[in-house]
Every structure is written in C-alpha cells, then in structure tokens.
C-alpha cells in the first residue's frame, strides 16, 4: 500500500478513529456534550480530509477497496447525514437515556460500515462493511432497551438481518464458485468471457438481492421496516433510512455498474419486478397509516422502488439520477425525522398523526418544514424531491422501461394521498398542542433548528436551482470512470 493509497483512505481512517476516540472519551468519563462535540468535529474532519485528498482520487486499494469520486460522493453524503443525525441525537438522548455515550461509538462504527460499502469493490469488503453496519444497528435500534418496544424492534431486525446475511453469503459463495474471484471487476471479466450468464451466477445474484433488498426494505423483504422505524429511536430510524440505505444502494450500484448488469435481461427483470412491487406495496401500505414513523417507513419502501427505476438503465444518467435522488431523499427524510425528534416528548415519541393536528397554527416553522419535506417526498416542484423524481423518470423514460415508469407514476399519485393527509392534518383547524417539557439544552435546540433551516434551504435550493449541484455530482461521478 503506497502513500497515495493511504492518503485516499485517510477519511475512512479518520472515521474509524472517531469511534476509538469516543471510547477513549468514555474511558475518561467525559460527558455527553463533550462526546457530541468531539463526534461532530470528527465528522467535520472526515469531510475536510475528503476535500483534502480529492486530488489523489481515484485510488484502488487492491483488492478490496476503491476510493473514487463515486465513493467519495456517497461517503460525503453519508457523513453529512451522520452529522445531522448526530446533532439531532443529542437532544433526543440527553433527555431519555442515562447513558447515551456508547450510542456514538455505535453510530460511528455503523457509519464506517456504510462508508466501506460505498468504496468496496470486493465481496469481502462488501460483506464486512454490511455486517459492520448491521451489527452496530442491532444495538442502536435496541439502544433504548426499555422503551418503545425497542428490544422487539432490535430482535426483529437482528434475526431478519442475520437471516438475509446468510443468503447474501450463500449467494456470494455461489458467484465465487462460478467466477473464481470475489473481485467485482474480475467477476465482470469472467462474465464477459462466459458465453451466457450462468445459472449459478444468476442464482447467486438472486440470493444476494435478498440481503440487499432487505437492507433497502424492498418488497417482499420490507416487512421489518415499519416495525423497526417505529421501535427504534427516531435518530436511529433516520440513520437507517439514510446512511444504511445509501451505503447499501451505493454498493449495489457499483456492483451493477462493474458487472454491466443492465445487459442482463433476467436480472433487470427481477429488479424491475421488485421495484414495481415496492412502489405498489409501499404506497398502498401507507395509505391509512396513522403512525408517522411507520408511514415514513412505508414511504421509504416506495421511494427505493422509485430509485430502482433509475437503477434500471445502468448508464451514467441512471447513476446520476440515483445519486441526486438519494441526496434529495436523504435531506428530506432527515428533515422529517428532525421534526419528529424536536416534537417528541420525553416519555413518548411524536409519532401519532393526531398529535400533529393544527401544528401549523401552533408552531408554524416546524409545520412548514415538515410540510416542505412531505411535499418533497411527494415530488412536488420547488423541492428537491421533484427534481429527484424528474431525474428518475428521465432515466426510466430514456431506457423506455415503460411498465415501471407507469407504475411509478400511478403509485406516486396514490402516495400523494397520504402525504396530503399529513399536510392537511398540519393545517387542521383544531390544534392539539404538543406537550413539551422545558428545553434542557437551548444551544442544541438552536443548533437543531438551524440544522433544519439549512436542510430546508438545501431542499428548496436543489429544487429550484438544481444546477448548483448537478454538475458537482457529474464531476464526482466522472472521477474514476
């Protein structure tokens, strides 16, 4: 491993160090605030180092990793999400948990796993990144182990994740058996030399799709999502919704890119079937849901179905679309969960929709923020969600994948109903004032609000002037290609 490769890995090393630093801080009996601030700074440092090393990209660290623009883009997005989640976590955990400190270790470990996923080009790093992500998540979901059925959520997630990991491994083994290598590009070469895609490879890929589908909560592997979103603490849920999914999607995308899966008719059919089922089920499941956390889970099922439509073309437009969509989605979902966190009472999360009645008249700022986020999820113009959906549709239309595209359109109309349902609740006449205890940490509250403002500005900014970010995405994606 040469100097430049080390340089390229620097952000990831910093990220890895972060969890160690936290452990040390805990060992030195530092308080929550110190840990929070340190963690924040560490994440900033990660971003900074990423900026610092941008010139040496792309670097392949044989055989496991490749740090290129694509990886950097998604890692950056992940780190950004973690920054925000971390910020929101403070107020949430400070009020609820006597010992919130290990939380940060797990968060950073999990993030490391997700980041590894974005840069992995090998089954081993894929697998380890995924497990690092999952194992930390088991603990994170059940972190508030005495509340909110957190343990139940943790157990469900753990059992299913472990189950699907087994499928992943079995699938990987089959592909390895077929291709003789676990290296993406080597597999691609093997596939190119093979006359036609072997049944073993297809079987392996299908089994791998189970784990990926599970992590992305795609139908029919989606059933955990609502339960886990509901049971997990909102910051963790937002973490699952963003970081975990971005990481897994990134590796899926890279795998598909490397192997040129778009040329494989069977695999594309499988993916489009999954996409369609996800769009339909997700949206229909959410229709009458009264729990906003579950509702966001269902909506995320649908959204990743949309995202798979962008995945279908497998060309650069599709990747761009997916990247933009993920960015928009991440920002949006962070806002939504941010609002939930800010509104949550100490003993009860603000998850019942009835709590949001007339919120606009009580807390106009929060309500507007939430409404904007929901409109973005619904894909209404002026928001990034619209551009995202537009991008995805564009990719789909370009590929002439008419069936998925039509399903996308129809289901997003259905989906509109439940977003509007929440919005109309926000603007309802009779208002239920959300009970809120005295704010313990004005600074962090202010910071959280500021974060929301920034996120909303980003959301609207990307929605109105997507030109400010699209060239950036393109540039990043070009590095290493």
């Amino acid at each position: 491993m040469n100097h430049q490769q080390l340089m390229a890995l620097l952000p990831f090393m910093v990220l890895a160090t972060a969890s160690i630093v936290i452990i040390l801080l805990i060992a030195f009996r530092q308080g929550h605030t110190v840990i929070q601030v340190t963690g924040f700074l560490m994440m900033c440092l990660v971003i900074f180092t990423m900026w610092y090393v941008r010139d040496v990209l792309p670097q392949t660290i044989m055989p496991l990793l490749i740090v290129d623009g694509y990886g950097a883009l998604f890692t950056g997005l992940i780190i950004f999400c973690v920054l925000v989640v971390g910020l929101f976590s403070y107020i949430y955990f400070e009020e609820r948990e006597e010992n919130p400190r290990e939380y940060y270790i797990l968060i950073f470990l999990s993030t490391l796993g997700a980041a590894i996923l974005t840069i992995s080009r090998h089954f081993i790093s894929f697998f380890i990144g995924l497990e690092l992500l999952s194992v930390s998540l088991y603990a994170l979901i059940a972190y508030l182990r005495t509340r909110n059925n957190a343990v139940e959520a943790g157990v469900k997630y753990l059992l299913l994740a472990a189950l699907t990991s087994a499928f992943l491994l079995f699938g990987m083994a089959l592909i390895y058996m077929d291709a003789g290598s676990m290296d993406f590009s080597a597999i691609a070469q093997k596939l190119h030399t093979a006359e036609q895609s072997s049944p073993l490879f297809l079987l392996g890929f299908s089994l791998m799709m189970i784990a990926v589908g599970f992590k992305l909560a795609l139908v029919p592997f989606h059933l955990w999502a609502a339960d886990v979103y509901q049971g997990a603490p909102p910051p963790v849920a937002s973490f699952i919704a963003t970081v975990s999914k971005i990481g897994v999607f990134a590796v899926l995308l890279r795998f598909a890119q490397e192997l040129h899966l778009q040329n494989n008719h069977s695999i594309m059919t499988i993916i489009s079937v999954i996409a369609m089922f996800s769009m339909i089920s997700g949206n229909i499941l959410a229709l009458r849901q009264q729990n906003i956390k579950r509702l966001l889970a269902y909506s995320s099922i649908a959204h990743f179905g949309y995202l798979l439509v962008a995945f279908l073309p497998g060309n650069s437009a599709g990747v761009e679309a997916a990247a933009f969509y993920l960015i928009a989605y991440a920002v949006t979902i962070l806002i939504a969960f941010g609002v939930i966190i800010l509104l949550s009472a100490k003993d009860k999360d603000a998850e019942r929709l009835s709590l949001y009645r007339g919120l606009f008249w009580e807390k106009p700022f929060v309500a507007i923020v939430l409404a904007v986020a929901l409109l973005s999820l619904a894909g209404i113009p002026l928001t990034a969600g619209f551009i995202g959906k537009f991008y995805v549709l564009m990719a789909g239309v370009q590929q002439q994948a008419w069936l998925p595209v039509i399903v996308l359109v129809v289901t997003s109309v259905i989906g509109l109903y439940y977003y509007l349902r929440i919005i109309s609740t926000l603007f309802a006449d009779v208002s239920v004032a959300i009970q809120k205890e005295k704010r313990l940490h004005p600074f962090f509250y202010a910071a959280s609000y500021a974060a929301l403002v920034v996120l909303v500005l980003l959301l609207l900014g990307f929605g109105v002037m997507p030109a400010i970010i699209i060239p950036g995405i393109k540039q990043f994606l070009l590095i290493g290609n």
């Binding site: 194992v135 088991y138 139940e152 157990v155 491994l169 003789g180 609502a226």
Partner: protein, 103 residues
Amino acid sequence: MQSYSVLVVAAILFVLGLLGVLTRRNIIFILISIEIMLNAAGVAFVAAGARWGQPDGQVMFLFILAMAASEVSVGLALVMQVYHQHKTLDVSKLNNLKDDIDV
C-alpha cells in the same frame, strides 16, 4: 468429487437452517438455526475456494466466523433483554409493533 455435490450439501444445510428459523418460536432456536445457515454458507465458500484452489474461500470463512460471533453476542444480549421484559422467548409474543389502522 464435484464441487456441486458440496454445494448441494451446503444448500440442504442452508435450507434446514431456514426451516428451523421458520418453525421455531424460541428466539434461541432461531439464532441457532441462523448459525446453521451461516455455517452452510461457509461450507459453500470453502468449497468454492477449493474449486479454484484459492485461499479466499477459507479467508471468507474466517470473516463469517467473526461476524457470527459478534452477531450472536448482540443477539444473545437481546435475548436476555427479551426474557427480562417479556418473561418469554416466544418470538410470536413480540408483536407489539404492527399496523393498527383505526380510521
């Protein structure tokens, strides 16, 4: 001996594990069954490694081991919590989180 006969064995083990996951209600048994599945996947890897004469399959097996260990540790910790809170290990008792639609 052909590799696919090993794969067949692995597949049978794998499916048996899956059957265990499906039929058992005790969380510990489910965890055990998952271990069986992971193990089956390991067998497949080692077989694949053997097919190509590469160490990678066995290396992967090591990683699976590590992963199984950490997973089981967290899993068992959760089992303890479940038992503590619910006084049972019946996974079907863990159904507080579900859709309840009241329109």
